[in-house]
C-alpha cells in the first residue's frame, strides 16, 4: 500500500550521456496515488514498458528518483521493493503445483508454513484457482497461468503495487473481458495500486480510472478517460484515443476565429497570445463535426467514403490536402459527392506545436 512518486525520472539504454532525444523514457515527474487504477497507454516503443520496469526495479533509471510513500527506493533491488508484476507471457514454475507456485514468493522470504498455507488458500479462493491448487501448473490454460502470475504477486500481504505488462496478449478474446473484470473486482476488493501497461485503448479506458498516455518516451497526458476524450492535451492523444481519432487540421487562428483555406470556423474561446512561429493546428473529434448538404458558410469537402459502424456513420472527407472524418447524420446522402462541414465550436481545440492551448473565455 503506497503512494508512488516519480521525481524527474528518466532512462536511457545508451547511458546517461546519450542525447536526451534518444532517451527511452524522457524526464517525468508524477504521482500515482494509493489505491488508484492506472493504465499506461501508448504505441509500441513509446517507453511504457521501460517506465514499468523502472518502477519494479528491473531497470535502474539513469536519472531521477522513485519514492514509495515518500521514501526513496531507487537504489533498492526488485526483491526489496514491495512490487508484484504480471508479464506479457505467463511465467509459471513448471515443476511446481499451482499451490507451490503461489507459495514461492512467501517461501523465498522465509514466511512460516502455517501463514503460507493460509495466504495461498485465501488467494486461491480470490482468483478462483481453488480446484487447481494441487495440480501441476504447466497443464493449465494461458488465462489460468496469468492468474497464477498475478496470484504470486497478491499473495504477499505487504505488496505496494501490482504492475501489469500487457497481461492479456495471449488470452483468448472471449476470456479477455472475464479476466479484465476480475482485475477490476480485485482492485475494488484489495485497495491496491494497479498499473496496467497496454497499447489497446479499450483495455486502458475500461480498466483504469486514470489513463497515462505516453508518446515517444514522454508522458503526454494523464487523466480520466473522459478528459482524454474531451480535451486531449496533445494532438497525439487526440489521434490515438477514439476511433476514428481526432481530426487535426493546420489553421490560422486569430482571436475567436480559425481559418482553413480562407474559410472561417468559429471558436468558443479567444486565442490572442499564440506563440509566434509555432505550428498552429485545430483539433476536433469526428463526433463533433457534422457532414451536411453543402451550404454557404460551411467548409466544403469532398466525400471519399462513408464508414457505417452500425450505430453511427462516419464520412471520410477531404479538404484540400487534409483528410477528416465527420459524423454523417441519419438520412444524409450526397448527390454530387460533396459535403459541408458543421463544427461544434465548444469542441474545437487549438494546438500550438502539438500542445493544447487554453483560450481565454
Amino acid at each position: 500500500m503506497a503512494r508512488i512518486d516519480l521525481v524527474d525520472l528518466a532512462h536511457s539504454y545508451g547511458g546517461n550521456d546519450a542525447p536526451q532525444d534518444s532517451f527511452a523514457l524522457k524526464p517525468v515527474t508524477m504521482t500515482w496515488r494509493q489505491g488508484g487504477a492506472y493504465a499506461l497507454l501508448g504505441p509500441s516503443g513509446c517507453g511504457k514498458t521501460t517506465l514499468l520496469n523502472v518502477i519494479s526495479g528491473i531497470i535502474t533509471p539513469s536519472r531521477g528518483k522513485i519514492l514509495f510513500d515518500g521514501q526513496d527506493i531507487t537504489p533498492l533491488s526488485t526483491q526489496k521493493r514491495n512490487i508484484a508484476q504480471v508479464f506479457q507471457f505467463p511465467v509459471i514454475y513448471d515443476t511446481m503445483t499451482v499451490g507451490q507456485n503461489l507459495a514461492f514468493p512467501l517461501k523465498n522470504r522465509g514466511v512460516p508454513k502455517a501463514e503460507i498455507d493460509k495466504r495461498v488458500a485465501e488467494i486461491g479462493r480470490l482468483l478462483d484457482l481453488e480446484p487447481y491448487l494441487n495440480r501441476k501448473a504447466t497443464r493449465l490454460t494461458a488465462d489460468a497461468k496469468q492468474k497464477i502470475s498475478l496470484g504470486r504477486g497478491l499473495v504477499r500481504s505487504d505488496v505496494a503495487a501490482v504492475l501489469f505488462d500487457e497481461p492479456l496478449t495471449v488470452i483468448d478474446p472471449e476470456l479477455k473481458w472475464q479476466l479484465r473484470s476480475k482485475l477490476k473486482a480485485l482492485h475494488r476488493e484489495l485497495d491496491l495500486t494497479m498499473i496496467y501497461v497496454t497499447h489497446d485503448q479499450t483495455e486502458a479506458l475500461t480498466f483504469a480510472d486514470t489513463v497515462v498516455v505516453m508518446h515517444d518516451g514522454r508522458v503526454v497526458q494523464s487523466g480520466t478517460p473522459a478528459e482524454l476524450f474531451d480535451k486531449p492535451a496533445h494532438t497525439f492523444v487526440g489521434y490515438f484515443i477514439g476511433s476514428p481519432g481526432m481530426n487535426i487540421l493546420p489553421a490560422e487562428v486569430r482571436g475567436r476565429e480559425a481559418r482553413i483555406d480562407g474559410h472561417v470556423i468559429a471558436l468558443n474561446r479567444s486565442y490572442d497570445n499564440l506563440p509566434a512561429g509555432a505550428k498552429i493546428e485545430i483539433g476536433v473529434r469526428p463526433e463533433f463535426v457534422d457532414a451536411v448538404t453543402p451550404a454557404p458558410g460551411l467548409l466544403t469537402s469532398k466525400i471519399e467514403r462513408v464508414d457505417d459502424l452500425g450505430r453511427i456513420r462516419f464520412a471520410r472527407v477531404r479538404v484540400g490536402e487534409a483528410k477528416l472524418a465527420a459524423r454523417a447524420p441519419a438520412g444524409f446522402t450526397s448527390s454530387d459527392g460533396m459535403a459541408g462541414l458543421k463544427f461544434d465550436p465548444s469542441h474545437v481545440h487549438v494546438y500550438a506545436d502539438s500542445l493544447l492551448v487554453e483560450g481565454a473565455v
Binding site: 526495479g57 528491473i58 526488485t78 508484476q85 511465467v91 514454475y93 514461492f104 523465498n108 504447466t138 493449465l140
Partner: protein
C-alpha cells in the same frame, strides 16, 4: 479414376533394398552366423548352437568372466564420467557470459576439444601423462605424487576419466548453454520479483527448463562412453593388466587377438543388444517427458 496395377515401382525401391542388405542385413547375419559356430582356422566351421551365448553369460567360464568383468568396468566408467561431466557442464554453462564478444570466445574454446579426433586425444594424454617426458606426469612426480598410469591401476583409471572429462564436458556445457539461452528474460524478472535466491532460480527455472537438453546430454554421453574404445586403447591399451579393459577393447582382443570369431560374434550381438535396449529406454522416457509437458485444454 481407376488405378492401373503396375509393379514397376518395386524396381525403384530395389536399390534401397540392396544398399540396406549389403550395409546392414548381410553383415549382421554374418555375425549371427559366426556366433553359432566355432572355427579353428582354415575356414573350417563347426556348429555350436547357443553355446557361446551360454558361456558369455556364465561368469565361471573364461569368456563369461572376461565379458562380465569388462561390462562392469564399462558401466562404472560411464557412471563416473556422467557424475562428473553433467554437474560440471551445468556449472560451466551457468557461468558463461550471456552476451558480448566473450560469448563467441567461450564457445570456440569449449568447442575445441570436441573437434580433436579421438585417437589424437588419446595420444595427447598418453604423452601428457608420461612420467619421463609428459608435462602432467613429470610435474606430478616432481611434487612428490607417485603417478604412473602404466603400472598403477588407480592412476590409469584417473587418467582415462580425466581425459574423457576433458574431451566431452564441453558437449554437456554447450547443450546446457543452449537450454539456458532459450529461457525468456521474463522468468528471471519474475523470479527477482518473487524474491528468489540464486539457488531457487536454478531449482525452479533453470534446471526444469534444461531438463530436455540434459536428457539428451546424458543419453549421448552414456552411449559414447559405453562404446568407448580409441582413447583408453591408445593411452593404456586396456592395462595395467585388464584394469581398464572395457567391453569394446575386450571384443577386439577376442576377435582380432585370439581370432575367436564365434565368441566375438556372440559378444558383439549381446553388446549391441544392450545398447539398443538402453537407447529404447531413453527414447521412451524422453518422448513421455515431452508428452507430459503438452498443455491440456479445459483447465481454466
Amino acid at each position: 479414376m481407376d488405378k492401373t496395377v503396375n509393379q514397376k515401382a518395386w524396381f525403384l525401391v530395389l536399390p534401397v533394398f540392396l544398399v540396406v542388405a549389403f550395409s546392414a542385413v548381410l553383415p549382421l547375419m554374418t555375425v549371427v552366423n559366426y556366433s553359432m559356430q566355432d572355427t579353428f582356422g582354415n575356414n573350417q566351421f563347426f556348429w555350436n548352437g547357443v553355446g557361446w551365448f551360454k558361456e558369455l553369460l556364465d561368469p565361471s567360464t573364461d569368456l563369461g568372466g572376461r565379458f562380465l568383468a569388462s561390462l562392469g568396468r564399462n558401466l562404472f566408467f560411464s557412471l563416473v564420467i556422467l557424475a562428473i561431466e553433467v554437474p560440471l557442464g551445468i556449472v560451466i554453462a551457468l557461468s558463461m557470459p550471456r552476451q558480448g564478444w566473450t560469448v563467441a570466445a567461450c564457445l570456440v574454446i569449449l568447442a575445441l576439444p570436441l573437434l580433436i579426433p579421438w585417437n589424437v586425444v588419446g595420444t595427447i594424454w598418453q604423452i601428457f601423462g608420461r612420467p619421463d617426458i609428459g608435462l602432467l606426469g613429470y610435474v606430478l612426480n616432481a611434487i612428490g605424487i607417485d603417478y604412473n598410469y602404466v603400472s598403477n591401476e588407480i592412476d590409469a583409471w584417473v587418467t582415462v576419466i580425466v581425459m574423457d572429462v576433458w574431451h566431452w564436458t564441453s558437449l554437456v556445457a554447450l547443450l546446457c548453454y543452449a537450454g539456458l539461452k532459450s529461457i525468456p528474460e521474463a522468468y528471471y524478472q519474475a523470479a527477482q520479483i518473487d524474491g528468489a535466491s540464486r539457488w531457487a532460480v536454478f531449482k525452479a527455472i533453470q534446471l526444469p527448463k534444461m531438463n530436455r537438453v540434459l536428457l539428451i546430454a546424458v543419453l549421448l554421453r552414456f552411449m559414447d562412453s559405453f562404446m568407448i574404445y580409441t582413447e583408453p586403447f591408445v593411452v593404456t591399451g586396456g592395462g595395467p593388466g585388464n584394469s581398464t579393459t572395457f567391453v569394446s577393447i575386450e571384443l577386439v582382443k577376442i576377435a582380432l587377438g585370439q581370432f575367436d570369431l564365434g565368441k566375438a560374434a556372440a559378444l558383439s550381438l549381446v553388446y549391441n543388444l544392450i545398447i539398443l535396449i538402453v537407447c529404447w529406454i531413453f527414447y521412451t522416457v524422453m518422448t513421455n517427458a515431452g508428452a507430459e509437458r503438452k498443455p491440456q485444454e479445459g483447465a481454466a
